[in-house]
């Protein structure tokens, strides 16, 4: 869309890698156009004067529960849902040493 948009096909290609997403080359222009339009819209925020008070508005503190150990008990569910198990452990492709 806008010629000055910070989002072009190269930027989409780069952020897709950061996000571990595959974007087909044929899809890049359409996606870049959609994201450009969204980014152009959010640039509306530049109209808000940045004031010192903004930083003072912090969310309420998160309550903390007592630091007492409790049984997890989730192993069966983890095993039931793991895409692949070997010897009772979740298995992933080999990271070191090549092969699978």
């Amino acid at each position: 869309m806008a010629a000055s948009s910070p989002v072009d096909a190269d930027v989409v290609r780069k952020i897709a890698v950061l996000a571990r997403l595959t974007v087909d080359e044929a899809e890049l222009p359409r996606l870049a156009d959609q994201l450009s339009r969204i980014v152009a819209y959010v640039d509306l925020l530049e109209q808000i004067p940045e004031t010192a008070t903004a930083g003072e508005l912090l969310p309420p503190a998160t309550p903390v529960r007592p630091d007492v150990p409790e049984a997890g008990g989730g192993r069966a569910a983890l095993e039931e849902n793991a895409p692949k198990l070997m010897h009772g452990y979740g298995a992933v492709p080999r990271v070191v040493g090549g092969g699978s």
Binding site: A16, A19, Q34, I38, L45, A54, P59, G90
Partner: protein, 486 residues
């Protein structure tokens, strides 16, 4: 089924009706009609009847259960023991959590019965339920229109009278907007009132579970059961929940009701503008003090929301990569497993949001986008705090238009995002808000009003919403789309 949450719980609790009988009625209703609406992703009849038998046994043993025998539907991004949780995504197909979400466990403890899991936009990202990987849910008032989203399945199931109550989750309006489209009540509590444990995370600083029902009293009952501190979610609040149902019966006399100035703009759909005037008169008739109140930063809410929620989503959804659960599309090597699993597992809208969020957080863009949005969010919250110094509740429409046609906004993500323009501000400020049906258009589509309260102000929200409900008397009937032949 025409019975309400409160009446079913009273009948089953007093032994006038069995929970099994109620569950059978609910299952028969959805079996007869859900083929047209497509609100459920999974119906679990046998499990529901087992749960109903357990509730009957507990009632017979003298237990007093606030949701005795109430059949409920649960949005499919929350854990229900024994049922799959897909988030309407291929990437979670086959995932079966080993336990209930805390909110679901509390409903179960209160005697509720779970008939099934409802459709949603994939990972709750959408305003039409068209982004489900599995099916498009239809609006029971007009089957050619969307039910809203992302809790579109839950809203359509309640509107269709398959169940008197359902759970939804609301990140930027995902309970209130579908409730508005389907002519039902949808309530989002203050952030932290209801535990998010067992709700698959989308935007963790925004997500909140809440009920969809056909009346404000029913919403208050379900909310009261779920609300309260949970050691499994450190963001739950320790503040007392109060007695929400007592607030429903309180009149609105003397209540200070602010009408959102920023909603009364030129270009507002004339049907919505007229309905807003009707709501203003209704509050005056109920004895409330009515005036206009401004939230100056409200017009920026969509821009803030789509940066903050997408940034959080890109982080939360990083965990779906083929390692822990659900789909693993490749074992070739680690990178192939990540990329191929996410390529096949995620739909287009989820990928778009992850990309937008990754962009907003990326080095070189963070300060200009995410940082600026977070500062604007703080200013918007301050606007609400200033407004609630003058009024007890704020009122505005729930949606900028009635339910739109299926496919109408599918190719224009920004137009779809703008459907949430009235619901997103309360989400960003973490405030309680309810959508209640407030009329029908000439062609029979529901219109809705939203009541927003201050932080922890659920009781004022219920009082105001119940008063409006009494004055406007939305028709208590089967939606038009289901009364017509197939």
């Amino acid at each position: 089924m025409a019975a309400s949450v409160v009446s079913i719980a009273a009948d089953v609790g007093a032994g006038r009706r069995s929970a099994v009988d109620v569950a059978r009625e609910s299952l028969a209703a959805l079996e007869a009609q859900d083929g047209r609406v497509k609100s459920f992703l999974e119906v679990s009849g046998e499990l529901a009847l087992e749960e109903a038998r357990r509730t009957d046994a507990r009632v017979a043993a003298g237990e007093r259960l606030p949701l005795a025998g109430v059949p409920m539907a649960i949005k499919d991004n929350m854990w229900v023991e024994g049922r799959a949780t897909t988030c309407a995504s291929r990437i979670l197909e086959g995932f079966r959590p080993g336990r209930d979400a805390t909110a679901v466990a509390r409903l179960r403890q209160a005697g509720a019965v779970f008939v099934g899991k409802t459709n949603l936009d994939e990972f709750a990202m959408g305003s039409s339920t068209e982004h489900s990987a599995f099916q498009v849910t239809r609006n029971p008032w007009d089957l050619s229109r969307i039910p809203g989203g992302s809790s579109g399945g839950s809203a359509a199931a309640v509107a269709s009278r398959f169940v008197p109550a359902a759970l939804g989750s609301d990140t930027g309006g995902s309970i209130r907007q579908p409730a508005a489209c389907c002519g039902v009540v949808g309530f989002k509590p203050t952030y932290g009132r209801v535990s998010r444990y067992g709700l698959v995370a989308f935007g963790s600083s925004l997500d909140q579970i809440g009920p969809l029902t056909r009346s404000v009293a029913d919403a208050a009952r379900v909310y009261a059961v779920m609300a309260g501190e949970d050691p499994c979610d450190s963001t739950t609040l320790q503040d007392a929940v109060g007695v929400p149902e007592a607030a429903v019966a309180r009149g609105a006399s003397g209540l200070r009701v602010g009408f959102l100035t920023e909603a009364q703009v030129e270009g507002l759909d004339p049907r919505i503008a007229k309905n807003l005037q009707d709501a203003r008169r209704a509050f005056q008739l109920a004895g409330a003090e009515v005036f206009d109140v401004s939230i100056p930063r409200a017009p920026y809410a969509i821009a803030i929301y789509y940066l903050v929620a997408s940034a959080e989503a890109s982080s939360n959804l990083a965990r779906f990569d083929g390692v822990r659960e659900g789909l693993r599309a490749s074992d070739a090597d680690l990178a192939a497993m990540y990329f191929e699993t996410r390529r096949r597992g995620f739909g287009e809208e989820v990928k778009r949001r992850i990309l937008l969020g990754t962009f907003a957080l990326a080095s070189g863009y963070y300060e200009a986008y995410y940082g600026r949005a977070m500062r604007a969010r703080a200013l918007l919250s301050q606007d609400f705090a200033d407004a609630f110094a003058r009024c007890d509740v704020l009122v505005c429409p729930s949606t900028p238009s009635p339910a739109f046609a299926i496919g109408e906004k599918l190719d224009d993500p920004l137009a779809m995002y703008l459907s949430d323009i009235f619901t997103v501000p309360a989400s960003l400020a973490g405030l309680p808000a309810i959508s209640i049906p407030s009329g029908l258009t000439e062609d029979g589509l529901p219109l809705s009003m939203q009541v927003i309260g201050p932080r922890l102000g659920e009781e004022a929200v219920f009082t105001a919403a119940a008063a409006l409900e009494r004055e406007l008397s939305f028709p208590d009937e089967t939606p038009r789309g289901l009364r017509q032949g197939p």
